[in-house]
Subunit: 125 residues, 2 copies
């Protein structure tokens, strides 16, 4: 089974917006070298979700995990992303597509953000 | 010196959006019990940055650290937040106000997001 992962972020006009997402993608690639890792954006940046996922399918991916690089679950993840995932499933019924929770809802990410805030402000012991 | 910290997030119509931010605030409070911790939002949720910061000043804070709970630095942090910080400085010239980088740009947070993505997708060793 060829695995693929789409890291789905918001996008912005400012190119520097993408830097943390590119850093996450690089680390995921390093941790899972046999998995094809694609970064995709909801708006303002390329590639789109559909473009990134189509490239993974074209490369032979038979399972694609979609991980939203969003801090919380608002309208973008509740309303914008599900139709994109459904369209991908409809176009590629043989591909196992799994949608995961917002990255910011993982306990370890919450913990890391809190620790980074404490350190940035020079608080704590 | 009484310390305060404003954790500044985007806000959304969906109340559940705030959950990870509230979790971060709770952990910062636990790590820095002598610091007053406020969560504030750019839009759609209360309190605003100005309201949260004013409450910290009213409570006696003489230094306020502002930590943006954003994954990257786009227009909101480059254009929307600096005037809010400047207005706060102008209103309270005796308060030491320090603006920090987006939480998503901290290496430990990038690392945690990558690890969470790998775990969510069932990748890695």
């Amino acid at each position: 089974m060829t695995r693929g992962i789409v890291l789905f972020a918001h996008g912005a006009r400012d190119l520097r917006w993408a830097e943390p997402f590119e850093a996450v993608a690089a680390r995921v690639r390093a941790a899972a070298p046999d998995c094809r890792v694609a970064l995709a954006f909801l708006e303002l940046m390329a590639p789109t979700f559909g473009e990134a996922a189509a490239a993974l399918v074209a490369a032979g991916a038979t399972r694609i995990d979609v991980v939203p690089l969003f801090l919380g679950t608002g309208g973008h993840l509740r309303q914008d992303l599900p139709p994109l995932v459904e369209a991908l499933r409809a176009a590629h019924p043989g591909v196992d597509i799994r949608l995961h929770a917002a990255i910011g809802e993982h306990a370890a990410v919450v913990e890391a953000m809190a620790a980074a805030a404490v350190a940035a402000a020079g608080l704590g012991e």
